[in-house]
Amino acid sequence: MSKITDTLRQYRADGYFAEFDYHWTMAIDLDQCTGCGACVVACQAENNLPIVGEKRMRQGREMKWLRVERYWEGDYPDARLSFIPILCQQCDKAPCEIACPVFATYHNQDGLNAQVYNRCIGTRTCAVYCPYEVRFFNWFTYTWDEPLEQQLNPDVTVREKGVMEKCTFCVQRINRAKDLARDEGRRVADGEVQPACAQSCPTDAIVFGDRNDTDSAVSRKMRDPRAYEVLKELNTAPSVVYLKNAREPLHAADGGGHHDGANAQAAEPRAAAAEPRMVEAESAVT
């Protein structure tokens, strides 16, 4: 018994994942995000996501591992739009991982929140526990129409009905790079792995890399004073870091505590973390 509790304590301690070779992390610069949606399309193509159709989309059953959320500020014509791409945050203290009764979701040694499709029995508890709502359930067995099945990615499983799925940070690409690096007896170089979303981003807003390597591009981004984590107050320790879109407040006069732009927000990470809620919500999915 003490052996089990010791393991768990060790598992929960801060820095536990630093012992391992890689700690994959993503940084998304919201200042550079134009909301074009190229990442969404790339994700759909890379990961064999089904096209659910108009009817099921309206029922709220779309499959999008990565979505660009839109938030409006102010009233027309004095309005402003901001984008935030939300994907699985690969939390180090993931709420979903404790939920699964059969260990279909677990934390692997790369700091990834892995989902084992074969093991999933579809209790959907992980999705209920996920505060970011980035887990997607296969309500039906989806099929692809005639020529479309030709473009399915052979490196990625096609999921059947009753299975939970979510963003994997394109684990198939990570594993291929790791295999290659191991064969050549070296570490995976910075920038060698790119998930589909990062690869397709026209403005390079998405940066992906290894957090354990302090010189990597993503580590440098993490040290940016604009960096914050979404819903940080829930202590999920996400592996996706957002760089705040530092802009003048829409109405500078009644902007209250935000007159100082970027520096003020960097000093107040909590306020920055709650950003999506501070603006008026407009329920629309791009």
């Binding site: 768990l8 099921r56 029922q59 709220g60 059953r61 779309e62 979505r67 959320e69 839109r70 938030y71 939300i86 709420p95 404790i98 939920a99 699964c100 009764p101 059969v102 260990f103 093991r119 999933c120 029995i121 579809g122 209790t123 959907r124 508890t125 999705a127 209920v128 526990y129 505060p131 970011y132 709502e133 887990r135 997607f136 359930f137 296969n138 309500w139 039906f140 067995t141 009905k161 009753g162 299975v163 939970m164 979404v230 819903l231 829930l234 999506p276 809620r277 919500a281 407009e282 329920s283 629309a284 999915v285």
Partner: protein, 453 residues
């Protein structure tokens, strides 16, 4: 218990030993066409409204239900909790009353425990309806396998599986053990095939002093064992919710809230079942004013506790004053599509039971039937409101959604009541629904007094 109370147990005077045997065994052996009709109707409703849509859902996928990305849990889970809750009074009440030596339990406890058993089974069915891949549901058990994959012992769902199975096993053993002497009585009173079946069922009970002694202490042992089990089961079910981060579910009060609600709805369920037994099985002589009065008092106390916990829930949300929690509560009671269900639940479960302060209402069987059903409707909606008003709105406003049950879900919900009824109807023809030997135990001192008078 004083003899005055003992006399109150039987509305039409205490029966003789022979009458107890005759009445109870008659209920087993004499089957009218009305019984077959009821059984036929409820079995076909179960087949049409529960099994058929379920098979459809297995073939198509859980998409047949109305759940979506925002509300991954729906009526299946809320019904699961409702049925688990309904199971909570029978065995628990029977065990508590056994330990406190309240003799009035003796004529009602058998069917109350049966209610526990069958609502637990219905609840277990809902787990299977709920999961996406029914055919792998056995993976939640610690089945040895070559991959050395075990269930996740940190998961509240894992605790659920353990707790519910333990409770189901313990209550089955409890009800079976208590029925042994009655099976023997049925065996002695019947002939032919029935005699042979009951001879096996009663494990060759002979009624020796040693057997009575063993039965006595092992029954008490199980009664003591079952009480903490029952409390733990619904606490654990509440952790399914409380261990999430969802505003409106992530609350420490959920365990006592759910346990109290469970015993509450279970007791109301017992009242409903008692009314049925009196009306259709002819047990009016054994289940009388005393029983309904005591059960109603219990209902009243539980409703007050339940109301108190609801006030606590609102108070803590208001006192903590976090924006997520505030919005979740506001959405539940005022802004959401199901605000009227919340008020309905408050009206049915907090205000209607206040009528029970009146003794005249407490002792009116027909009125109590209505009140008990109203309470259980309220409790069914309580669970639904908790699930349906919290999950569609969690944290990120961009993905806020709504949830409404589909036809398949509604049909399966309706069908589950038929499943329960069918199981219960089968029970009353196999088990003596009133405990023969324990009713006789309460008779003994009465008869002595009569003889000396």
């Amino acid at each position: 218990m004083s003899s005055v109370l003992r006399k109150q147990m039987f509305d039409h005077g205490p029966p003789s030993y022979a009458e107890v045997n005759r009445d109870v065994i008659n209920a087993l052996t004499t089957t009218t066409w009305r019984y077959w009709l009821t059984l036929g109707i409820s079995a076909s409703v179960a087949l049409l409204f529960f099994i058929a849509p379920w098979i459809y859902q297995i073939i198509v996928g859980v998409g047949a239900a109305g759940m979506n990305r925002n509300a991954m849990w729906g009526t299946y889970l809320s019904n699961f909790i409702f049925w688990i809750g309904l199971s909570h009074s029978g065995t628990l009440l029977s065990a508590v009353l056994h330990i406190t030596q309240s003799d009035w339990r003796k004529s009602i406890y058998r069917s109350a425990e049966a209610m526990t058993l069958f609502s637990l089974m219905t609840a277990a069915l809902f787990v299977m309806v709920h999961v996406g891949r029914l055919w792998f549901v056995h993976w939640t058990f610690p089945v040895p396998n070559p991959m050395e994959l075990w269930p996740n012992f940190r998961s509240p769902l894992m605790f659920d599986v353990m707790a519910i199975l333990t409770y189901l096993t313990a209550s089955s053993v409890f009800i079976y053990m208590g029925s042994l002497p009655d099976f023997a009585a049925v065996r002695d009173a019947s002939k032919g095939l029935r005699r042979r079946i009951y001879a096996v069922l009663c494990f060759g009970w002979r009624g020796t002093a040693q057997e009575w002694h063993t039965l006595g202490w092992s029954y008490t042992f199980f009664a003591v064992l079952v009480i903490p089990l029952a409390v733990s089961v619904h606490s654990i079910v509440s952790w399914d919710f409380a261990m999430s981060t969802v505003p409106g579910l992530h609350q420490t009060i959920f365990a006592p809230y759910f346990v109290c609600g469970a015993i509450y709805s279970g007791t109301a369920g017992i009242v409903t079942v008692m009314w049925m037994l009196r009306r259709y099985m002819g047990f009016g002589r054994y289940i009388g004013k005393l029983h309904i009065d005591n059960l109603s008092k219990l209902l009243l106390v539980l409703s007050l506790i339940w109301t108190y916990i609801n006030i606590c829930e609102l108070f803590t949300a208001w006192y903590a004053d976090t924006s997520f929690e505030n919005e979740a509560i506001l959405y539940r009671i005022w802004e959401g599509p199901f605000w009227w269900l919340w008020w309905e639940m408050i009206a049915f479960c907090a205000f209607v039971p206040l009528l029970l302060f009146s003794r005249r209402i407490r002792q009116n069987w027909n009125l109590m039937l209505v009140i008990s059903i109203v309470i259980n409707i309220g409790m069914l909606t309580e669970r639904f409101v908790i699930v349906a008003s919290s999950l569609p709105r969690k944290f990120l406003p961009d993905v806020f959604g709504t949830y409404f049950p589909s036809l398949v879900e509604i049909s399966i919900t309706v069908g589950s009541f038929a499943v329960f009824t069918t199981l219960f109807l089968l029970f009353v023809k196999i088990f003596p629904a009133v405990s023969i030997y324990e009713v006789k135990e309460t008779l003994a001192p009465l008869r002595k007094r009569e003889a000396s008078a």
